[in-house]
Amino acid sequence: MSEDGLTYEAASARIEEIIRRLDSGEAGLRETLELVAEGRRLIEFCAGELEAVGKGLQELRLDELLARLAASGATGELAAGSASPSCRCG
């Protein structure tokens, strides 16, 4: 999910909607250009989401993660990506 609340499923559904609209041939030139621009942004978002789960499996152990978080005295390090993985699988 993006910061503005956009989800993969919502973006994907909107892309389908845009393509259907363009396929209908009812969109004028201005609308077409706007829809294409919006579709490209959404495709980039979806591609980013897919890339995030395609770089390689990252396995963490909850007990080790909690120990690291406790040692650092902070939470949310997982979100910041600072927690080192226990192992990384292809």
């Binding site: 393509i19 250009l33 490209r40 979806c46 789960v53 499996l57």
Partner: protein
């Protein structure tokens, strides 16, 4: 218990309670009273089974309480022999017995206990009845719907998995995620999944996964087992924890025939860890990647097609004025030709009509000329007549002589025949008498 013995200790000043009684006497009375309680059967989970020299001690527990129990070792061994299996910690059992009280002594501590003389493992029917009661209670509270209402992402970046560290479920989850083409972040929360410590350990793991943040969905996975093995997932506190968790939980702890209470409160219930992993990532990532490329291609294609179509329309519209003018010019020429032809036809008709009218006019003109000459002749005749008009003669000074009967008297001889005559001038008449 009777009255205090004569000469016994004096009680607390001011207290109206009976006594004081010797404690041994009171303990014996208490034992008699407890042993008088009705003998009953109890059901619960065995906990802390501890064989001693003469007796076996244990506790019988459920979610709402516990009772200390004990049995003679001989009885316990006989019971186990009859059951064909040892009665161990964590087992659901039914025991028969009654309350008892060991009064102790000056050197031995007293104790209360439920004296067991018979027992058997609880059958599946007993367990199912208990599970059903809990299930109904939780569902009545609406706890079966809370997880189902949570949004489940089709493409989570981080998944938490609660499972046994050495279990096959771990491999199944990994294999299923790999087949999905998913390679995100996986947080393993290893916990026992079948003994009596399982439920609280799993509940703690769930709470920790939520506390870590970023975990978007949790899978609780274990392989199949007997219903007794799955009792941890029918434990009330664990089920309540799952129901109230703010992230969706996918349960795959049971098997096809037995449904745990956890299955009813989780967002999704799956029969195997493989299915649970697939439910955690509904999207097939490899297909989505290729599909996204196809969507981008279609988007680009539609964009180009639309622009080309629009350009064609504009080109046609640009050519249109020339074609329009040419059409109009041709139409105008045709109209002009038709107009000329019409004019020619109408000209002929008009000339004919004018000729007819000229002829009529000519005739009328000629007729008019005849009238003029006639008029002139009449005028001449009128002049001639005027010249002979006696009135005009009278105007010149002549007078007419008329007799009494109005006849003109034109001679003196004729005048002698009349005594009275009239002289008529142009402006009047005068009677005269002949002398």
């Amino acid at each position: 218990m009777g009255h205090p013995e004569h000469g016994a200790s004096v009680g607390i000043p001011g207290s109206r309670l009976p006594g004081p009684f010797p404690v041994g006497e009171y303990a014996a009375a208490l034992r008699r009273r407890l042993r008088g309680f009705a003998h009953v059967q109890l059901s619960g989970e065995l906990s802390g089974v501890r064989p001693a020299r003469a007796r076996v001690y244990f506790e019988l527990r459920d979610a709402r309480g516990a009772v200390p129990c004990s049995a003679w070792r001989e009885d316990w061994e006989r019971i186990q022999g009859r059951c064909g299996q040892p009665l161990l910690d964590g087992m659901e059992v039914i025991v028969a017995g009654g309350c008892d009280y060991y009064v102790g002594s000056a050197s031995a501590s007293p104790s209360f206990g439920f004296h067991v003389w018979n027992a058997r493992p609880a059958g599946e029917g007993d367990l199912l009845a208990r599970i059903e009661r809990l299930r109904r209670a939780l569902l009545a509270e609406g706890l079966g719907e809370r997880q189902a209402r949570l949004r489940r992402p089709v493409l989570p970046r981080t998944i938490g998995v609660v499972t046994g560290e050495a279990g096959k479920a771990r491999d199944d989850v990994l294999a299923a995620l790999r087949r999905r083409g998913w390679a995100g972040r996986l947080v393993w929360a290893f916990a026992p999944v079948q003994d009596r410590h399982a439920a609280p350990a799993i509940a703690r793991a769930l709470a920790d996964l939520v506390a870590v943040g970023e975990v978007e969905v949790v899978v609780i996975a274990r392989g199949g087992g007997s219903l007794v093995d799955l009792l941890a997932f029918c434990e009330e506190s664990l089920c309540r924890t799952v129901a109230l968790l703010p992230i969706p939980v996918i349960a795959s702890v049971g098997h096809h025939s037995d449904r745990t209470v956890l299955d009813d409160v989780a967002a999704v219930s799956c029969s195997t860890p493989t299915h649970a992993a697939e439910a955690a990532v509904p999207l097939h990532c490899d297909e989505a990647r290729s599909g996204l490329g196809e969507k981008a291609r279609r988007l680009r294609l539609r964009s180009l097609q639309t622009v080309a179509l629009r350009a064609g329309t504009l080109a046609r519209q640009a050519r249109a004025p020339i074609e329009h003018l040419e059409r109009e010019r041709r139409r105008l020429e045709q109209s002009s030709r038709e107009l000329r032809a019409t004019a020619r036809r109408r000209g002929g008709d008009e000339r004919e009509r004018l000729a007819r009218r000229a002829l009529v006019l000519d005739r009328k003109a000629r007729a008019g000329a005849d009238d003029v000459s006639r008029r002139r002749a009449l005028d001449a005749l009128a002049l001639a007549l005027d010249a002979h008009d006696p009135e005009r003669t009278l105007a010149r000074g002549y007078a007419l002589v008329q007799g009494p009967d109005g006849d003109l008297v034109t001679s003196a001889a004729a005048a002698s025949d009349h005594e009275r005559l009239d002289l008529r001038f142009h402006d009047g008449r005068i009677p005269v008498r002949r002398p």
